[in-house]
């Protein structure tokens, strides 16, 4: 992928999150398939070999998987509009809007998500008595809204100026140009890195376990705190997270391949 970077300026490089398998990598044994098959075989072998420890540890997690997905899905839905408005705000010619959006991004990106979670739940908790899951979703969306804003901004600025000029000379106003010409094109550039952010978000939901939210990590820790099987439990937690993120990264890569197909058509 990196080799094609220079010739394909529409691809934005965002390196956090999971590694997205390269759709052009058509080898039978790719890093992705190796990791995926390895994860499944490893989980199956451990559960078969020592069911009392590994299978029991695995059984303690499904409730947590549900909560993890719940938090991730809600945070995605909330962070997308926040990201879009932030991205647009960062490109706005209105100096006040621009300043607000830029300050938001600067402030949020400078504070670790863990601290934000503590701040929203325990810090502001005396003023706003929101339930833990709600606080977790808010904190994740506010944080990832800022990250996403940067993705939107770079995606929008990647659309060539000629498009805007053409639309403007055809009589579109600035708003129409953005809504009807720039955004529909930018969408395709933005989607893969946004998908990448989602995967990073899913992994970061493990942080919400400190708010006593019963996600995968907390369910596992509760199991380990009773059975003292720390190694077995954390191994299973890691494998479950890996399994989920590998599937998601596959989805993002398929989506990327599909978008690239339309690109070259």
């Amino acid at each position: 992928m990196s080799m094609n970077k220079s010739s394909a300026p529409r691809v934005i490089e965002i390196t956090d999150g999971a590694s997205i398998p390269d759709p052009r990598d058509k080898n039978l044994i790719s890093a992705w398939s190796l990791a995926f098959v390895g994860t499944i075989l490893c989980t199956a072998y451990l559960c078969w070999n020592d069911p009392d420890a590994y299978l029991e540890a695995l059984k303690s997690l499904p409730g947590g998987v549900l909560v993890t997905f719940e938090v991730t899905a809600c945070a995605i839905l909330l962070s997308l509009p926040i990201g879009l408005f932030t991205g647009l705000g960062r490109l706005s010619r209105n100096r006040i809007i621009n300043l607000i959006a830029s300050t938001y991004v600067e402030v949020i990106r400078g504070i670790p998500l863990l601290v934000q979670l503590f701040y929203i739940y325990y810090g502001l908790g005396r003023l706003f008595k929101v339930p833990a899951i709600f606080a977790a979703v808010i904190a994740m969306s506010v944080c990832y809204g800022a990250y996403m804003g940067e993705v939107f901004r770079s995606g929008i600025s990647a659309i060539s100026k000629g498009q805007v000029e053409a639309a403007r000379s055809l009589g579109f106003d600035r708003r129409q140009t953005m809504m009807l010409v720039v955004l529909p094109q930018a969408w395709r550039t933005i989607l893969p890195p946004v998908g990448n952010e989602f995967i990073a978000m899913l992994k970061d939901t493990s942080l919400v376990s400190i708010l006593a939210v019963g996600d995968i990590l907390r369910k596992g820790r509760e199991f380990a705190s009773v059975t003292f099987m720390y190694f077995e439990t954390y191994t299973m937690i890691a494998l479950v997270y890996l399994f989920i993120t590998l599937i998601l990264s596959r989805c993002v890569s398929l989506m990327e391949a599909k978008l690239a197909y339309y690109d070259h058509k």
Partner: protein
């Protein structure tokens, strides 16, 4: 040049000899989770203090060994002991059959009950009257285990009991379950909290809960050493002095 090497070698050997002479008094590393006032906590001066600190120091003095205190997270405190990061846990560990299967324990040094902290206007006197309510406890503590035995109530596990109390104050949960000296500290002695919460009742236990020092399975030598110290502390009445020092009543 060669002379210099010999000199250096002699210096290193000398240091090693000095080191081993030092090590004659056994050093025991002790882990505490300092979020459990008044048993073990961090005071206003950022010092690690508490009943179990003083108790451990007294035991060490009586049994003739040196103590190195370590502040660690509760969740994982047993894993750290098993991994050999320290020799003893002196962190209000109640002896339970499950823990006894994994670790060895000294003689008990303190008796506790599971107390339930409730909002100050609550009139409940048992968990049965609070069906469907949400209760907080610290992960992996006997308070959490006591809640797990009552499927009618919803149990939430926190990293620190202090965070559970904060949620109770903020009205997000309906009660907190923890050891009675800790509940007293939070519910009665903290001025801000005392206006809003109280100790509602004690969860009846099938058997007495007792704190003891935990060591790795098979470390009989250390268990004997600790027991020797504990017996001396009890005989000399040092434990009574420590209780007077650390367990103040709400009237003070």
């Amino acid at each position: 040049m060669k002379k210099l090497w010999y000199l250096a070698l002699a210096a290193i050997l000398g240091l090693l000899a000095a080191g081993s002479a030092f090590a004659e008094e056994k050093v025991v590393t002790v882990a505490h989770d300092c979020t459990w006032p008044p048993m073990e906590f961090v005071n206003e001066k950022q010092e690690l203090v508490g009943y179990s600190f003083d108790y451990m120091d007294a035991v060490a003095k009586e049994a003739g060994f040196k103590v190195e205190h370590k502040n660690v997270q509760w969740d994982g405190i047993f894993a750290g002991l098993a991994n050999g990061q320290y020799d003893v846990i002196a962190s209000s560990v109640t002896v339970t059959p499950e823990r006894k299967r994994q670790f060895d324990f000294s003689e008990p040094y303190y008796e506790v009950l599971q107390a339930v902290a409730l909002p100050i206007d609550s009139t409940a006197t048992s968990l049965d009257q609070l069906k469907g309510k949400t209760f907080g406890a610290q992960i992996g503590t006997t308070g959490k285990f006591a809640l797990d035995k009552h499927p009618d109530v919803i149990a939430k596990s926190y990293d620190e009991v202090g965070l559970a109390f904060e949620d109770l104050i903020n009205g997000r949960i309906d009660g907190v379950v923890c050891d009675d000296p800790v509940a007293t500290q939070f519910a009665l002695l903290n001025k801000d909290y005392a206006k809003k919460i109280k100790i509602g009742f004690i969860i009846p236990a099938e058997q007495v809960e007792e704190y003891a020092f935990a060591v790795n399975k098979g470390n009989q030598e250390l268990v004997d050493l600790l027991n020797k110290g504990i017996r001396a502390v009890k005989e000399k009445g040092i434990d009574a002095q420590l209780k007077a020092k650390w367990f103040k009543s709400a009237q003070d």
